[in-house]
């Protein structure tokens, strides 16, 4: 057992005491919901980074995952449906010292909030988006989400979904986000590492966590108990590296077997400039010019 793992086992309860906002408990989450794991992974990432929680600002939209900032003892802006990234842009603009972390869901971020997501990623705004993808609108009782795989049953798709699903991480990568990773919540360490890397990264980071919704999605789609839901991730995901290997060197049969699988892993890790850094450069250039003009006595 590595030192790191030992440390975690020792400190787990202490860690929760340190970061949970006790007055808000219990959570609204159902049995088997993966969102609690996401909170836990975030705490580990924050702990390992040693962030000052007075300098962490959380934002969220509407939905189950957007309730997460309530349970974390930090400043939190629980905003309107889909708009968290726009609010977060303002939070970061006015105080660049803050670590801005957004909790959002697949419906919140890519359904109603798709436009803000596209542009926050394109501008490479310095924030970390932890997106919990459960393929469903859980809070409202199980309506069709833009991420639902074809054939999924939802209350508003009672005969099965006929729409193409949104591939969130691929989109974020295409938009030029500095850091993009996708992991199922059933992976205990990789999400922590990615959240850590995402927060430490300057620019836009997306960590898409596949999180089960047994109540609204699993039950309706007869995916079985919690264990079965976790196994579903095992059977339906493939590491990016393995995927590339098969696509490049695999047999037709192997290629067919991975077609429908979700790629997981780190999709992108680059260091391109972001909006606020560039804006500050522009400001400094203008101020210098104005001040030089003043000294030159032209006014």
């Amino acid at each position: 057992m590595s030192e790191e793992v030992k440390k975690k086992m020792i400190d787990a309860n202490e860690l929760r005491d340190k970061y949970l906002r006790e007055g808000m408990l219990p959570t609204i989450f159902c049995n088997g919901c993966g969102h609690g794991n996401a909170i836990d992974y975030t705490f580990w990432a924050i702990e390992e980074l040693g962030l000052d929680m007075d300098k962490v600002a959380l934002a969220s939209g509407i939905g189950c995952s957007s309730r997460i900032p309530g349970y974390i003892n930090a400043d939190g802006l629980h905003t309107t449906h889909g708009r968290a990234l726009a609010f977060a842009t303002g939070i970061k603009a006015a105080n660049p010292d803050l670590h801005v972390i957004v909790f959002t869901g697949d419906g919140d971020c890519t359904g109603i909030g798709g436009n803000h997501f596209i542009h926050a990623a394109r501008r490479n705004i310095d924030m970390t988006v932890i997106l919990l993808n459960n393929f469903i609108y859980g809070m409202t009782g199980g309506q069709l989400a833009p991420t639902a795989p074809i054939g999924s049953i939802a209350t508003t798709a009672p005969y099965g979904n006929i729409e193409q699903a949104f591939n969130i991480s691929e989109l974020a990568k295409a938009l030029g986000a500095n850091y993009v990773a996708r992991w199922p919540i059933s992976y205990p360490y990789q999400p922590i590492k990615s959240i850590k890397d995402g927060i430490a990264k300057k620019g836009f980071s997306l960590i898409e966590l596949m999180s089960p919704c047994p109540t609204a999605y699993g039950r309706r789609n007869r995916l079985g108990n919690i264990e079965a839901l976790w196994n579903w991730y095992e059977e339906n995901t493939i590491l990016i590296e393995d995927y590339e290997k098969i696509i490049n060197y695999g047999t037709e049969e192997e290629k067919n077997s991975i077609k429908e699988k979700f790629k997981i892993g780190v999709f992108q890790d680059v260091d391109k400039p972001g909006f606020f850094g560039e804006y500050e450069k522009l400001v400094n250039m203008l101020i210098e010019k104005d001040d030089a003009k003043l000294k030159g006595g032209s006014q």
Partner: protein, 394 residues
Amino acid sequence: MKYERDPERIRRVLGDKVQFIQGDMAVTYGAVLAGCSFFGGYPITPASEVAEGAARLFPRVKATFIQMEDEIGSIGAVIGAAWSGAKAMTATSGPGFSLMMENYGYAIMTETPCVIANVQRTGPSTGQPTLGAQGDMMQARWGSHGDMEAIALAPSTVQESMDMTIESFNLSEKYRHPVCLMTDGEVGHLREKIVIPDEDEMELVERVPATIDKEQFIPFTDSQTQEGSKVPDFPTFGTGYRTYVTGLTHNEKGFPATDKPPDHQRLIKRIVSKITDDREALTNVEKIELDDAEIAFVTFGASARPAESAVRMARKKGMKVGMLRMKLVWPFPRKVVHDLSKKVNTIIVPEMNLGQMVHPITEYAAKDCEIISAPKVGGEMHLPDELFEILEGV
């Protein structure tokens, strides 16, 4: 990039004390003078010049300008910036104002200070983008869902576009409430002389920051504020108060109280009455020739301009006509309108809409005062002659 208001730099960037500029640009000037450090906007006629002005001036005073992806994102970013401590604003016109309504309500519910300039054009829908109107007056008051109070100002001149932008920030800071600057395409595109105030000619109001012990602090209560105030001190993000802010009905701690009627009643009554309690103090009107008037125009914004001309025309002919101009339209100046209605026989309400402000005027006027609505739509201002004709018909 952290903003610090630098009066000397601001004046240097704005330039000459006396200028001849457009109403929209004057709104940007007002924002710069007020110490606005964040502008999030989206292009829309006839308000784009406000954003263009901000894009040009804001970086030169170390303030942030960002062109957002839409109006919903614009006001969202504005509210986020406000929670990080910025004085923040956006500017738009009818369609964008409609898009902002949900987050306008969010700002009201979360008591977020910010300013929304609405350079009104005709509607509904896309309407006449380049033509002015006053059709959003009720939207500013009632446009978001649920119970609320509004604070809205209506400039009639370019000078007022600047001055009232500063005033909008002051009121938003004082009441922790989004303030609507209800200008219009006529005043917004009008060019007039303005005089930029010196630092000692301006009063700037800042929100009261939370200073109480962090363990004791309750963010959404009036029990910890300065005596008599219903406006809680502001726990700026990043200052260690670790405040949870939600648009859900929340208790005094800020925690969701979605199934508790008393919490909802307490919250909504407080965020409405913090403004209505000060209705008289907020009332801001201009009175023209009212001392002996028997007929009065009650006006606001652009339509006050032809109304004032009609008053002068009438006075030349010996008619006892005056005008009451509401500089602040919401909260509605009930008392001054009521008092006027007891003095005059007739009130005429010219508006560039089918009759909006005439409703509260009728509601609060004495029952024996005749109220005449003088609406005009189609993107044209009233002509003084048209209003004079109405006077002659009284």
